[in-house]
């Protein structure tokens, strides 16, 4: 469902934080978030975080390195974190992802 929502016009927004400024500009950050969500696999899933918003966290591979991705699951999909992993993370399926 998340992939479908994020692919729709206006279905994906990215929270602007200092970490997202890792990307060259806002357009590149948005494109990277879209691409990261489109390429998600079930084996990338780390955990669901239930605060006021329900968020899913994933550890993904991007350009050969491990990245952390967290977003809200209710539409629109709001990407809260997208940055290189700070430490090795194990996904729910037991896969270890290195920074």
């Amino acid at each position: 469902m998340v992939k479908g929502t994020a692919a729709q016009p206006g279905g994906l927004v990215v929270l602007e934080t200092r970490a997202i400024m890792f990307f060259g500009d806002a357009m590149l950050a948005h494109a990277a978030a879209r691409e990261a969500i489109a390429s998600l696999r079930i084996t990338d899933f780390v955990r669901t975080i239930r605060q006021e918003d329900i968020c899913d966290a994933y550890a993904i591979q991007r350009d050969g390195k491990g990245w952390y991705l967290k977003f809200t699951v209710q539409p629109p999909v709001v990407v809260i974190s997208l940055h290189p992993l700070e430490h090795a993370t194990t996904t729910a399926s037991g896969r270890r992802v290195e920074p």
């Binding site: 927004v13 990215v14 500009d25």
Partner: protein
Amino acid sequence: MTKFRCVQCREGMVRPMTGPGRTTWMGNLRELPIPDQIATLGCESCGAQYIGAEAASVTEAVRPTYEARLRELAASAADALLRAGSRSGDLERLLGLSQGYLARVRSRKAPSEGLTLLLMLLAEKPRARLAEARRLWERASNAGIRTKAKRARRSRPVRAAA
């Protein structure tokens, strides 16, 4: 775009906004002002900014300011280097730029961030760093000559002992 609750403060609604005071980043430059008429997504309560499908128009609208800022930084650094006694042509040669490049930067050409940074680094201590740059190029050239000489010595045929 439907409105949604801000994930940062969880109080305000996020909606398209226009007007002054909004900024974005491009490359290594932060706090670039977004033109008043360009819409971005922001929280009406805490002011958190969001990047949505409008990101492309924001980037295009901010690019002229970004490039002008790079030109300004590069020109000001080049001025400091010229004031320290370097001539424009010498400076362009040292940096591997074509003749007249720095004049074009002053008028219209946006320099790369790499060149801008290099000029700023040199301009921090103009005399010392220009001398260091010349020394580095000289050392690199001599290293090339030494490598060539070494290769030539190795490939020289050994004369048989009489």
